[in-house]
Amino acid sequence: MSEPASASSIYDLGYRHYDGPRTGRWGTIATLYTGSVRSAFGLGRRTSSKIIPFTLAVLAFVPALIQVGIGAITSGLDADVEIFEHEDYFGYVQIVLVLFCAAVAPELAGRDQRNRMLSLYFSRALARSDYALARFAALTSVMLVLTLGPQAVLFVGNGMAADDLSGYIADRWDLVLPILGGSALVSAMIASVGLVIASYIPRRAYATAVIVGAFVVTLTIATILMETLDTEYAQYALLVSPAVWDGVVFFLFRVEAPSGNVIADASFSGWIYLAAGLITVAVALGLTIHRFERIQV
Amino acid sequence: MSAAGGGPTITLDGVSRWFGNVVAVNEISFELSAGVTGLLGPNGAGKSTLLHMLSGFLEPSAGSVTVLGGSPWCNPALYRHVGLVPEREAVYGHLTGYEFVLLSARLQGLADPRGAARRAIEEVDLGAAATRTTGGYSKGMKQRIKVAAALVHDPTVLLLDEPFNGADPRQRLHMTELFQRLATEGRTILFSSHILEEVERLAERVLVIVAGRLAASGDFREIRRLMTDAPHTFVLRTSDDRRLAAALVAHESVVGVEVGNELLTVRTSQLGAFARAAPVIARDAAVSIHELRPTDESLEGVFSYLVNR
């Protein structure tokens, strides 16, 4: 506060109270969301923390890039070389998606618990459930980069390799919605399970191991059971495993599961897989919110 | 046990360490022999970096570190004669205090690990708590058990990183006495701290590190005397403050006087000259000086001067 009505002043450089506009709850959520997305890729931290997320993200794109490369080489030829189909893509990069989630989810849901930052977050204009939902939204968005991104590259790459781009798009227009829907659902499914595990297991190494185990082991067991047991009973194991992703994706693309696939012998209709997937997301998300509502800070 | 030939036990020669673009330690050279030396400096000055280099847990980027005649880097055999008390609080939580020190004794290859462990625990006065697991120790107790583990093999050199962190006054007193005793037995003890009272009380010599450079070394009172561009301040209680003040101001060694309610404060830039002149001036002015004492000859004064240069 300066002295009025004189040529010289003393300026108060001390603490200033902020009286300006505040963004309120949604602003806080948006900030948390962007912050989470950035920290998932290690942006804003030193280089070594970017290695793993970026490596895995690049690996997720590799099949699409191979396809585009081949398409570029054979574009003049008559052959329509499509090694990687949209509906099969997630099957190829499945493990990369799981590893990425296992590496990133503990950073989002576990690190604040370890560093006792939660009290800071919860003393803002942010409901506890908002925190959980913002983290979930961020993780799903980040997974979308690895699911939708390669699919988009594949689509556009195929289109450019084909002789007629606009014709290609007109032909394959019906792929767009399944691509979007499939990517969104798979992302949500992975993100929700990874997040709930990470929120209950703050220690990073354990959470990573359990997340990987949750996906890999369920799939392996379901596969073994399908092969060895009567499929009528074994197929229920599929519903709690990543096989659900295949079920949902094939359903959305309206194709039959290829014969080698684990769900080929199961008798569930696509709607069951869809329901199983959505229920998984809902339950996992609910548990995550419950965890943060209940946690003592 | 002193170093062979009575030479210095620890020698640093132009030692520097940088991390990328950040220079943490900048061409530091000094020599230490038996006795207690305090490593003093603000946070981030490079104390821990220096201690890590001395203890073989960091390679100097330049210069040479010599402890007991050898370089501590990639030289585990040296640990037979060096004890290290690290800063981080964590200890093997599932072991009892006794087991922890015993482990240290065994890993040192001692002939009688159990006896050595018991003695070390007695030295740090943790006999009562030695049977409890260290996971349940208070911070000060963890410090002391770490010291016990570092002493168990009777080392010639003892390096401690912030040993008084978390210790309550009684424990600090106890440890101060312990270190003084160890030093008189011929050991070289180097400890880092930013708790000035402890360093003042314990250290015969200080090394002041500011922003990676060695700002001063030696006895801190002598350092004070070397700080000639900072006026010394004295406080006097006299029979007539104002009259003495008027007489003192006339003398060339006096930079300033301040007449307070009960005390007279005098600032002088020439310590020796003032010390000789003051009684003469007082006698000539017929004023009795009841008390004359220096007020900033504390480590704190020295320290803030060196830090703010």
Binding site: A209, V212, I224 | A90, H94
Partner: protein, 245 residues
């Protein structure tokens, strides 16, 4: 000296969370084998036991994951929380410390995976001729566990994110890359394990076939394991406590 470190590490490694996690994982093959015997009409038990159960689950998933969890815990936990200093500031050759850690990890990994695999295999092959399956996979797990342990202890010295790096190795390198590029199997502990097992397993190639022949697998195991151990020793000798953060 090594014995002391070994005992200390064993005590630390068998912490509650870790034991439960790997214990549950180790139960699965046994359960699956039980379900198989009770439920399935399959007549090719030997093929199933070798290819699906022991190769497909125990060696491919259980063994590396167990070795990973224990191998990264052996030294990784101490490095992370700062207690490694107490071990490293002693007049002990770093290679002794590395060897002790690897041995501890190997002991626990092998104990878990071997018992799981052998019990599950025995159940699956209950009244059938064993055809060297149990022996072969037993030896394979024993040796493979050692090489995995060396690899993962080395990783935990080199990086603080050893667990995820190990997971990438197991699932992407040994999973995807080895599957796509046959040549890379020369650098895969899993294929060394299967190669060694193949020496004892007396089944036709249609039932069980390893990509590497036993002699190659054994030699490469020794080379790989020795290299990992040597590198871990070298890095631990030059272990630095740097800037915190």
């Amino acid at each position: 000296m090594t014995g002391i470190i070994l005992r200390l590490t064993l005590r630390q490694m068998l912490g509650r969370g870790r034991t439960i996690l790997i214990g549950l994982l180790a139960l699965l093959p046994v359960l699956v084998a039980l379900v198989y015997r009770l439920g399935s009409q399959d007549t090719e038990q030997q093929e199933w036991a070798a290819t699906v159960l022991l190769d497909g689950f125990v060696v491919t998933t259980l063994l590396p994951l167990a070795a990973l969890v224990y191998g990264t815990a052996a030294l990784g936990v101490e490095i992370e929380d700062g207690t490694a200093v107490y071990l490293l500031s002693k007049p002990i050759l770093r290679r002794r410390i590395v060897l002790a850690k690897i041995t501890a990890s190997w002991m626990v990994t092998t104990a878990t995976v071997l018992s799981s695999g052998l019990v599950a295999g025995a159940i699956a092959l209950y009244d059938k001729p064993k055809a060297g399956i149990l022996l072969g996979f037993g030896v394979g797990i024993l040796l493979g566990g050692l090489v995995y342990s060396a690899l993962f202890v080395m990783l935990s010295v080199v990086t603080s994110r050893a667990l995820i790096a190990g997971l990438i190795y197991v699932f992407i390198w040994e999973g995807l890359v080895n599957g796509l590029f046959a040549g890379t199997r020369l650098l895969s502990v899993r294929h060394y394990t299967l190669g060694v097992a193949d020496w004892f397993v007396d089944l036709p190639p249609s039932a069980f076939d390893a990509a590497l022949d036993p002699a190659t697998a054994l030699v490469l195991m020794v080379v790989f394991g020795a290299a990992a151990t040597w590198y871990a020793d070298r890095r631990l000798q030059r272990f630095e406590i740097g800037e915190t953060t």
